[in-house]
């Protein structure tokens, strides 16, 4: 698998590390991992860095994950880059909202590395 540049957006630094570890356990060759503590930070990073994969929490202070996703799409910041939402919210309505906002994948917390692999690898293969 080619080297991947990932952006992980979560207000919890612990969750960012757990997501990174799960990506590595899923077999991804991570060349670089950018971390952002909010949607606003994530947008700033996307203006400066190129990435191949974005994983974002939804419930975050200041700018939540759905608004972050809408802003990415509205400003065409990461064209063709798959976005996967990782969140405690699990209802069909939440999934629908995420998909409408432009997400390609949805992972519910708590999660296993195997679930991350199942959701993320097909998106990278298709990108």
């Amino acid at each position: 698998m080619t080297e991947i540049r990932a952006l992980i957006v979560d207000d919890s630094s612990v969750m960012r590390k757990i997501v990174e570890r799960a990506l590595r356990q899923a077999g991804l060759d991570l060349k670089v991992v950018h971390e952002a503590g909010s949607g606003t930070e994530g947008l700033d990073l996307l203006k400066a860095k190129q990435v191949d994969l974005i994983l974002s929490d939804i419930n975050m202070p200041s700018m939540d994950g759905l608004e972050f996703l809408r802003q990415i799409r509205a400003h065409n910041l990461a064209p063709g880059v798959p976005v996967v939402m990782i969140t405690t919210e699990s209802s069909e309505e939440h999934v629908k909202q995420a998909i409408l906002a432009g997400a390609q994948g949805y992972i519910r917390k708590p999660f296993t590395a195997e679930q991350v692999k199942e959701r993320v690898l097909p998106l990278l293969d298709a990108a």
């Binding site: 612990v14 757990i18 570890r21 419930n59 759905l66 405690t88 309505e93 939440h94 917390k109 708590p110």
Partner: protein, 186 residues
């Protein structure tokens, strides 16, 4: 005071954002499914799921009280929408450090910001898993971001909740408490 703040944040998040805003919230009622919402097995299953998947440990109910420690940590995640209230996680500092170590694969000597962050996330996942057990609740109840309190000799007091679940759990020789406080149900 604290619980009110966290709850208000969850309500504001739910109203502001939304997942279909208040329209859907107003159309659904949990009043008739209060037994399902207050079923203690949902809380047990949520705790087992979160600890198994995120820490790799088997966790079960403990009939005794939580082991007392001088310093403790509490994570509060507010509910807003169809149900207002909070999910409260509480443990001693050594249990909190053990949880953070299992979650991150790191070692900690004290209850630093990373440990507090990990405990906040545990509270967040417990709240999300618990409300996810009831479909109407999953779709129509928002969560606040976690508030984490540390200190010694403090008590958490809630005035006359509609219902409350309060369980002690154990993994290995570590124990902790999880409380679901519901003070309003639409």
């Amino acid at each position: 005071m604290l619980l009110n703040g966290v709850r208000n944040a969850a309500i504001a998040r739910k109203q502001g954002g939304g997942i279909n805003g208040m329209e859907q919230t107003m159309a659904v009622s949990l009043r008739e499914s209060v037994q399902l919402v207050s079923d203690p097995r949902n809380l047990d299953a949520s705790v087992e799921e979160v600890f198994q998947l995120m820490l790799g440990v088997t966790c079960g109910r403990d009939s005794g009280p939580m082991r007392k420690e001088q310093e403790s940590v509490t994570a509060v995640v507010g509910f807003g929408g169809l149900l207002s209230g909070a999910c409260v996680f509480r443990s001693g500092s050594s249990t909190a450090i053990r949880i953070a170590a299992l979650m991150t694969g790191m070692e900690f000597d004290e209850m630093d910001d990373t440990v507090k962050d990990a405990i906040g996330e545990i509270g967040n996942m417990l709240a999300g898993a618990w409300k996810g057990k009831v479909p109407d609740l999953a779709a129509n109840c928002g969560l606040s971001v976690p508030a984490v309190i540390t200190g010694r000799d403090y008590n958490l007091h809630v005035q006359a909740p509609e219902f409350q679940l309060h369980h002690t759990y154990r993994f290995g020789d570590s124990s902790f408490e999880v409380t679901i406080v519901c003070d309003g149900l639409q």
